[in-house]
Subunit: 361 residues, 2 copies
């Protein structure tokens, strides 16, 4: 019965990682594509998905590392790389830009590895775009976090004793996470404003009901990202943002340049200029942060302003983050197997070639 490809789902081992690479709903769909799925007992527990939900969807419980294809969320640690079979396939976030040694270790192990970060950003591969799906979760949670730490309401509130005005929320860096943060803050009743150095996103900002903050500095780059600013541009940007920021209750920052330290958009002086009780949520903490006062992974209060730098926000909403991720993995898997569920990898395919970071020799 199991001549077809076996997909293994390990329990994630990274601290704080509550996601899991497949969810029961997606297991069902893979079963319908003639794939077998082996789930490590307890793999879904941190996402509050019990083992029996996987069994119910057609998976078996067992050792995921013996599988033909191992699907993970976070990059494998050294022990996990050692547990992979030579000749097997690994799919997951592999941090190819910041941890190139990982691909080398996997190559030495004889593993063919596909990095979810390296899926080309083309239309055909949108369904595999895990960076975007997880950024959606991060942006939603960032807006919720800002609301949670703000000492004030997001929505306008009218009571018999008077009215409190809606919060003003500014999002700096309007990619997928920034747009979702704007949309969520707006849902909650805040007045929203977006800023980016890529002028082409102004219409997207307006499409989620936010105002566009134009500082006259443009730096469109490649692959949908911005280029790094010159020193003079950076200084002018910080000066102008410092002035603008004082008028906002919450500032959410998401600005990253791939492979580089995140740019400083919110200076210590700008934070000092904010009204007491205001909030900065910095989503760029993993690459150093967009706020000068950010301490990655921590929540600090400075000048009566809360500066929160949450790491791995998608893991804080593990079921749906896992479900979206699992669908991305499913779309990639469907590209790698034939109709009978046997592995059949076409390395001349643009998406396959782009995502592959190392290939069994």
């Amino acid at each position: 019965m199991t001549a077809n490809t076996v997909v293994g789902v390990p329990k994630e081992s990274a601290a704080g990682e509550r996601r899991v690479a497949l969810v029961p709903k997606v297991v069902e769909r893979l079963r319908a594509r003639n794939l077998s799925v082996v789930v490590e007992p307890g793999a879904g527990l941190a996402a509050l998905i019990p083992d029996d939900a996987y069994v119910h969807s057609g998976a078996t419980l067992g050792d995921p590392w013996a599988a033909d294809v191992v699907v993970k969320v976070a990059p494998p640690n050294e022990t996990e790389v050692g547990a992979l079979r030579a000749g097997s396939v690994l799919i997951g976030f592999l941090a190819p830009l910041t941890d190139p040694g990982k691909a080398k270790a996997l190559r030495e192990r004889g593993v063919t590895a596909f990095a979810m970060e390296s899926i080309p950003r083309i239309s055909r591969a949108q369904s595999m775009d895990a960076l975007s799906s997880q950024a959606n979760v991060a942006g939603y949670r960032a807006a919720m976090l800002a609301a949670e730490h703000l000492t004030r309401f997001f929505p306008m509130l009218t009571t018999a004793a008077g009215t409190v005005p809606p919060a003003k929320v500014l999002v700096l860096g309007v990619g997928v996470a920034g747009l979702q943060a704007l949309a969520t803050a707006r849902r909650l009743g805040a007045h929203t404003t977006g800023y980016d150095v890529r002028p082409e996103v102004a219409d997207q900002v307006r499409s989620v009901g936010a105002q566009w903050l134009d500082l006259g500095i443009e730096a469109a780059g490649s692959g949908g990202y911005a280029r790094a600013l010159t020193d003079a541009e950076r200084e002018e940007q910080q000066r102008q943002l410092g002035k603008a920021i004082t008028g906002f209750d919450a500032v959410i920052t998401t600005a990253q340049v791939p492979g580089r330290t995140a740019p400083t958009l919110v200076t210590a002086e700008a934070v000092e200029g904010m009204r007491a009780g205001s909030v900065v949520v910095d989503l760029a903490g993993e690459s150093g942060g967009n706020c000068e006062l950010t301490e990655p992974g921590e929540i600090v209060v400075a000048h009566s302003v809360t500066v929160a730098s949450p790491l791995n926000l998608p893991a804080t909403m593990p079921e749906h983050a896992s479900e979206l991720y699992a669908r991305n993995v499913q779309a990639l898997l469907e590209l790698l197997v034939d109709a009978d569920g046997a592995l059949s990898v076409d390395f001349t395919d643009e998406v396959v070639a782009g995502a592959c970071v190392t290939k069994e020799a």
Copy 2:
């Protein structure tokens, strides 16, 4: 300069109490009514309101206990009762129904005390209704907490890899807090449903875009509260709710009967019937809770369902909770002073008489 009445604002002493009885904006208004305000240094710090904001609004920093009128949020502890001057006035939440000994202690101290809980619920006193203003904050935060602990999205999300459906949220007990919880959950994109034993609130539930859950059990009481159900009614209610609850991602409960233990609406069996990853937020924890698995003040996970019982939610959004409360206090103060800012208490006034729990002999 200070022949007029002096209002004192102490720093709150209760654990976790981040609110303060007056905020700078309201201090300004009281100054315009010829009242002087003395704020204890650091009184606003937990609400991220710095001392200089009070000074800027016309208050002085000093000993609040020497004032003619002391305004507080939480009931005074023994030390604080001892700090009150004989002949002074105290305004605050005083828990008259659950802690009648407090009024006795204040009477023995020679203090005239007004309990915010005892303001009559009549139109003229709506601007003083601190129970409602704080319930608005609690309901908003309860919906946010449910969203925070749910492993899934509240809004529907459409991505290239597919769609996730909106969360289904049920609110049990639809007073001010329940209505605000429904409104906030709906803002966030959830499908909302409200339930109450008072049939007259069905229209209010529908007015915030929620469905009305009708179980055919009616128990309208007095003062806007429900009467306690009979044992047979309670059993039938639990049975029917247990069935209904299985369909919801999040259940927020707010059912309280004044002076009594909160009714059990969500049994352990009902929690077991919920989908893994779902959430119960129980706002009745202070009076024992509406969920059988509630541990007041704690967050427990049972059968892969998170049961959160936050205490004093208004304190988690201290600036606006304080601002709304301060406006309620301001409205009561304006009833107690004449145009020159001198105390002039008319004990024949229905609102004054209702709120007064003890009077200087």
